[in-house]
């Protein structure tokens, strides 16, 4: 496999972002997360903060309408730009890691796609978020729930499949079992095996 695209879906607090970045380093390929926002900002002239504000956010159904495929929702338009961007990158033959953005569904059928989903036990997620954001246990739990609800709504609105459904991904992995580093090692060997095939 000359080109390979690693799509990483993740639960909030599971370490998915760190895992994606680490995989990018190990395979020496770009990771499209923040970088995706920068590229779109450069392409459209939109402010970084503006894209960030609507990034991976579900739209408000009451305040938006779609006419002949055109939507007034800024969230929808930013999402479409990101989908278009990852499709173009995939089409160009480039290898990369992409975090979220419904990439496992938007690139479905692409021969270079390796789709992963990282989940974790709630206790482990709470511990991680408490440390990262300096939050109390209750607040960390509420924060995780809110973020995951948002990701789920975003994903399920833009795709016909359900976020986190194991049938959607080549591999779903619980990062609590092997720890973050162990999970990265395991995923690296899985990806190498896929590339060799």
């Amino acid at each position: 496999m000359e080109q390979f695209i690693i799509s990483v879906g993740r639960e909030f607090g599971s370490g998915g972002r760190h895992i994606a970045e680490e995989l990018g380093k190990r395979f020496n390929i770009p990771v499209y997360n923040r970088h995706l926002i920068t590229e779109i900002a450069e392409k459209t002239g939109l402010a970084h903060e503006e894209i960030e504000k609507y990034n991976e956010s579900p739209k408000s159904k009451l305040l938006s309408r779609t006419v002949r495929g055109y939507s007034n929702s800024i969230e929808d338009n930013i999402a479409e730009m990101q989908f278009e961007f990852i499709r173009e990158k995939a089409q160009s033959g480039e290898s990369f890691v992409v975090l979220g953005r419904c990439s496992e569904s938007k690139l479905k059928g692409h021969p270079a796609l390796i789709s992963l989903f990282v989940l974790a036990d709630m206790d482990a997620k709470i511990k991680r978020i408490m440390e990262l954001y300096e939050l109390s246990e209750d607040k960390a739990k509420a924060f995780i729930d809110k973020k995951d609800r948002k990701r789920k709504r975003y994903h399920n609105y833009h795709c016909s499949s359900h976020w986190g459904d194991s049938r959607l991904y080549d591999l779903s992995i619980n990062s609590t079992r092997l720890g973050i580093d162990g999970t990265i090692d395991h995923l690296e060997s899985y990806i190498r095996a896929r590339i060799r095939k």
């Binding site: 939109l46 305040l63 309408r65 779609t66 055109y70 939507s71 007034n72 800024i74 338009n77």
Partner: protein, 457 residues
């Protein structure tokens, strides 16, 4: 009858809810709701074949009056409004032909060149062009091309396209209200009540014209500084595309201009010639397809069949409300709360239309309100026309207030966002909501002065 009424209302409310949720495409929603109306309301609850056939309204199409009428009011007024659907289909085919030939892009670039690409004249010209084009062509198509060219030119001229797009969208909705074919609610009202193109032009057309003057002035005042380029910006005029580059084939371009001219002439004169809008739509579609040559399939594929299906389902659902007497009950309620006072009736219809159209699609609203105003007016013809013009203005113009009130708003804001100029609710409503209030106030005063005095309730 009570079961039928409950079912008809439930189907209508659920249809609206599902449409807003956008879980299923709206044409399938209305079609599904239409099928449910046929089965549950007409079949199970009413067990009335007559109500079903009246709503399906197929008999009307094979009568001569459906195509050529000797007087007014020859077209159907209850159930599926086939005249509206056939006319819209015909105009869609014509517009696709024009777009393929590069007509809209050429027109935008040509006018921009004529005003020497100066921001203020360009701003004013595009507002007027948006209103005028929308009188004959659906506002979605107008904004689709106008917004794209506006952004392209604004980038080259180093100006902000957002104020221009906001003003163009408002003017497209305003222009659409001026004629019978400008906005779908007007086609529904016109064909439902047997009004002609000329009737609209001399009534809503005058109101729209007066409002346009106020609106141009308003947008000029609020945006005159925002659309000027920053001091010191250098503009390379050689990069601006030439209007002639927009034309792919001169032959196709000439043909599409001629067909458009024929459509305008036929529409303007249809009360004299007796040709109905259904005839005009069919005729225009046929000549577009005959002259399209090998492009026939491309044009036919691009027609927005979803909208036509949407209309068919919608008319059946509204037919269910009509046949079960729900709309009559709403009409008598409006009659009661207004105490028979025409001024209050006008104000109620205008503001209900305005508020509803600002948040929900104005097409189902107009289709539902039409039988209500017919029932309110009964045989009182001056009252009917007074309420019809009020409904038309209320539904057409007041959709401008929010980004989701009318199709043109959605398309305009979407194109802007895709090109890097997101327009949120705040930015949109800041200029459009006051503009809408101006327009409603001016229209209401006009309707009071011109029509209400002569109406005896």
């Amino acid at each position: 009858m009570l079961t039928a009424q409950i079912l008809a209302v439930a189907i209508f409310v659920i249809m609206f809810g599902v449409m807003i949720s956008e879980k299923i495409e709206k044409h399938w929603v209305t079609l599904g709701a239409g099928v449910l109306t046929i089965i549950l309301v007409f079949g199970v609850a009413m067990q009335s074949r007559d109500a079903l056939f009246e709503t399906l309204n197929l008999k009307g199409i094979i009568t001569k009056d459906f195509w050529i009428t000797s007087g007014e009011g020859g077209e159907s007024s209850t159930g599926i409004n086939w005249a509206t659907i056939i006319f819209l289909g015909g105009m869609m085919i014509m517009v696709e032909g024009m777009a393929k030939a590069g007509f809209f892009r050429w027109l935008c670039l040509k006018l921009a060149k004529l005003v020497n690409y100066k921001p203020i004249p360009l701003f004013l010209t595009f507002m007027i062009m948006s209103a005028v084009l929308s009188m004959f062509i659906d506002s979605i198509t107008v904004i689709l091309f106008l917004a794209a060219v506006t952004i392209e030119l604004a980038k080259l001229l180093k100006i902000d396209p957002v104020p221009m797009i906001l003003a163009e969208v408002f003017c497209a909705n305003l222009g659409g209200s001026a004629t019978m074919c400008g906005d779908p609610p007007n086609i529904i009202i016109g064909t439902g009540l047997g009004y002609s193109f000329f009737d609209f032009l001399t009534n809503t057309g005058v109101i729209a014209g007066i409002c346009l003057v106020f609106i141009i002035l308003y947008y000029y005042i609020i945006f005159r500084k925002a659309i000027l380029p920053k001091a010191g910006e250098k503009i390379d005029f050689s990069t601006i595309p030439n209007p002639s580059d927009a034309i792919e084939s001169k032959k196709d371009f000439t043909i599409s201009c001629v067909i458009f001219a024929i459509a305008v002439v036929l529409l303007v004169t249809h009360s004299m010639t007796g040709l109905t809008v259904a005839f005009i739509g069919t005729f225009i579609a046929i000549i577009t397809l005959i002259t399209a040559g090998k492009n026939v399939l491309i044009i036919l594929k691009k027609v927005d069949y979803q909208t036509l299906i949407f209309f068919t389902g919608l008319f059946i659902v509204v037919g269910g409300l009509e046949q079960t007497g729900i709309l009559e009950a709403i009409a008598s309620f409006i009659g009661k709360i207004s105490g028979g006072n025409i001024y209050i009736m006008v104000a109620v219809i205008m503001w209900i239309s305005a508020i509803a159209s600002a948040f929900v699609d104005n097409i189902p609203f107009a289709a539902t309100m039409l039988p209500i105003i017919k029932s309110l007016a009964g045989t009182n013809s001056p009252m009917l026309s007074c309420l019809a013009w009020t409904l038309s203005i209320g539904t057409d113009i007041c959709g401008s207030a929010t980004p989701i009130g009318a199709s043109a708003n959605v398309v305009g804001t979407s194109i802007a966002a895709k090109k890097g100029y997101p327009i949120g609710w705040g930015k949109y409503c800041k200029s459009a909501a006051p503009a809408t209030v101006i327009v409603i106030t001016v229209s209401m005063i006009y309707v009071f002065i011109r029509y209400c005095g002569g109406v005896e309730v």
